[in-house]
Symmetry: C2
Subunit: 410 residues, 2 copies
């Protein structure tokens, strides 16, 4: 058994293969809908014989924020990753936060590899790969770019022959299923024994839990979970965030354009950052339930906060110190205010900044408080200590702790 | 078909029996645990052929608050019921809020009865009966006092022979099952055709979702749901609040004594009200995840709020106007501040005010944000309009709307 410590936390994984899966955008309702229809027999077994409960994600409930938290075991205040996108105070420019240069601590994956585990990390989108594979001596590739892997960069030369099919389109169910199939193949071929598999939420953005497409997708995932278990894996499942319909009763997107509203109110050059922004916006139009606001000196933080709290659909408004404390965010990587919106409400910049024309099936998105609670599922029964921990306030970024250390035989 | 309006909302219930059940303290995890073990076949059928999702309860997530909201279809700002217990500004005294004199609007039950429906209302605890049966011409009794019903007060003379067993002890699973069995009997004997059945959360306070006692309890409830459906009912299920373990890793209660902390900090006569307080405190020691704070003039609201936000475990602090707006509370029935605590944290007055000695099995409680999302389950498939509503931001106090108006044939 290889034990190691990362960021002050200890991990003593069993020698069996350890597999952690982040099911991007997996609101618990998706599991409920598929389980009720008996489409996930392996998950059902895990729920009955292992553990199924809920864990709290990191806020804002976005992909980069939570994947960085999961692979480090730390909240965003420590990882430094507060969004997909932020206004860099050093340069004054808006930049993507998907470079490992923004990551402020080590990853469990890199340290596990140094401690002798054969680590495999597979993401759906390539944007995540670079940041999560920071200093990782192991296998790390994305489904999106599976056709382009190189031994010296990705730790593996041929992914498509391994998985048995070509790289998927990124806007597809297969973008996620390919990640899981790659994980199964890595175990089956004995190329790795410590896996992190991070999926994409295209399907959850597009389909409700009861939609046949979603049910088929979850059934297909469940077959992969079965294969991983069959190969002897200890399996831990969680999500980066949930997913809710952000629509009015007539099906149109329910959007508050915070930058427009603030500019009209205060007649000043106010800048709103939407940290959900990433290169893949087809399915959400860069609209989520969390934004940060940068105010010029002429506008008082309190006055802006008070005004925002009067807006229907705004649920929480924090100034920088309160957000750092209550939302566990890095104060230098957020604006003067953080604004969260309701279960069915998104916040954006101005109408011109968001393309809603491609949201054919309606807007489903995340980022706020109502996407905070996500599944926590373990294949092994928990020890009494970890059962107590699970029924307290477990976090999705405790998933490696639970999977490595939580078993009764650990 | 009898149609009627209450508090500006319209209800057109089908002529079939309509049954709404409030499963007190039913965090969604209870349904998950029982469904995964296939202990709730009728609920499983409702989830697959009707609807199962999540609805948002009213804050604070307490029993009186949410039962009052459910039977009126209105948030606490309209009902006036902001807790089980409050500091009456007219008298300066702390009083229970379980009298209908505190209710500020009509109930769906009373209006349905006036419109010609034969209404039956059964609660587990007698404390709720009086408030919920406000102006109701129909049947209204509690399981707790089932032995003492009188025709002129309760609209029924003999409950124990009807149900077939004596009134249950209030601290028992049967306190809730008796309510459901009474509902079944009222339909079977054709004594009512419009039912509200409100259970008690003793079992959820005491047992985790996976505990055999909880699973047996939910299986027994499911048999009653099956009987109600067999009798032709349109069935709607929701909860007043969820339930979480409020414990440290060692199993001891995780309590912040807000009154003690504020008095130490500000050296002033600060008064904290715990609105969870009721005559039945064995299972929670009057500790929940929400309190209100009454400050003397010598202490600034902002200073107290700022201080409270620095406390580990405090998650949200609102002054009166913000609480009225963001939490939909009646401003004259809350303190100067409202304080919410984390998923595994409760807030109380002083150590002397709370008896923890009887919390043998550990503290499970509610009242805050992490008990806000509760099940919403309907026996009938929803119309497209109500499906859109359900996937937006449905409230638990929309349950009569969903049950009466939501069906595809409605």
């Amino acid at each position: 058994m290889t034990a190691f410590s990362v960021n002050g936390r200890s991990y003593a994984p069993p020698s069996r293969p350890v597999v952690v899966v982040c099911i991007d955008g997996c609101a618990d309702e998706y599991l409920n809908a598929a389980l009720a229809r008996r489409r996930m027999p392996h998950l059902e077994r895990m729920a009955c014989h292992g553990y199924r409960g809920l864990a709290r994600a990191a806020l804002p409930t976005f992909t980069n924020v939570n994947n960085a938290a999961i692979v480090t075991g730390m909240p965003p205040a420590v990882t430094g990753i507060s969004g997909n996108y932020f206004l860099d105070p050093e340069t004054g420019e808006e930049v993507m936060m998907n470079s490992s240069r923004f990551l402020r601590c080590e990853t469990i994956l890199a340290v596990a590899a140094r401690a002798g585990r054969r680590v495999g990390m597979v993401t759906a989108k390539d944007k995540l790969r670079e940041i999560l594979s920071h200093k990782l001596l192991g296998i790390a590739f994305s489904a999106e770019k599976a056709a382009e892997v190189q031994q010296e960069i990705h730790g593996i030369a041929d992914v498509e022959p391994l998985v048995g099919r070509p790289a998927p389109r990124i806007y597809s169910a297969d973008a996620s299923l390919y990640v899981l199939d790659a994980g199964v193949a890595l175990l089956r071929e004995n190329l790795a024994d410590f896996l992190y598999l991070s999926l994409t939420d295209y399907m959850q953005h597009k389909y409700t839990p009861e939609a046949p497409e979603a049910l088929d997708f979850y059934a297909a995932m469940d077959r992969c979970f079965g294969q991983l278990l069959e190969l002897g894996a200890v399996l831990g499942l969680t999500a980066d965030h949930g997913m809710n319909a952000k629509q009015l009763a007539d099906g149109t997107p329910h959007v508050l354009y915070i930058e427009s509203l603030l500019r009209d109110k205060f007649h000043a050059d106010i800048r709103v950052i939407c940290p959900i922004t990433d290169p893949y916006v087809v399915h959400h139009g860069a609209l989520g339930s969390f934004v940060t606001v940068h105010l010029p000196e002429s506008v008082s933080v309190d006055a802006a906060a008070q005004y925002l709290r009067t807006l229907d659909g705004v649920t929480e408004v924090y100034d920088r110190p309160a957000a750092a404390r209550l939302l566990e965010l890095p104060p230098d990587r957020i604006g003067d205010l953080c604004v969260l919106s309701g279960r069915n409400v998104v916040v954006g910049r101005t109408p011109e900044h968001h393309d809603l024309s491609q949201l054919a099936g309606g807007l489903r998105s995340h980022g706020g408080r109502y996407e905070e609670l996500v599944p926590l599922v373990l294949s092994e029964p928990l020890s009494p200590t970890y059962l107590a921990k699970a029924s307290g306030d477990p976090r999705n970024f405790d998933i490696f702790d639970f999977t490595c250390n939580g078993g009764q035989s650990s």
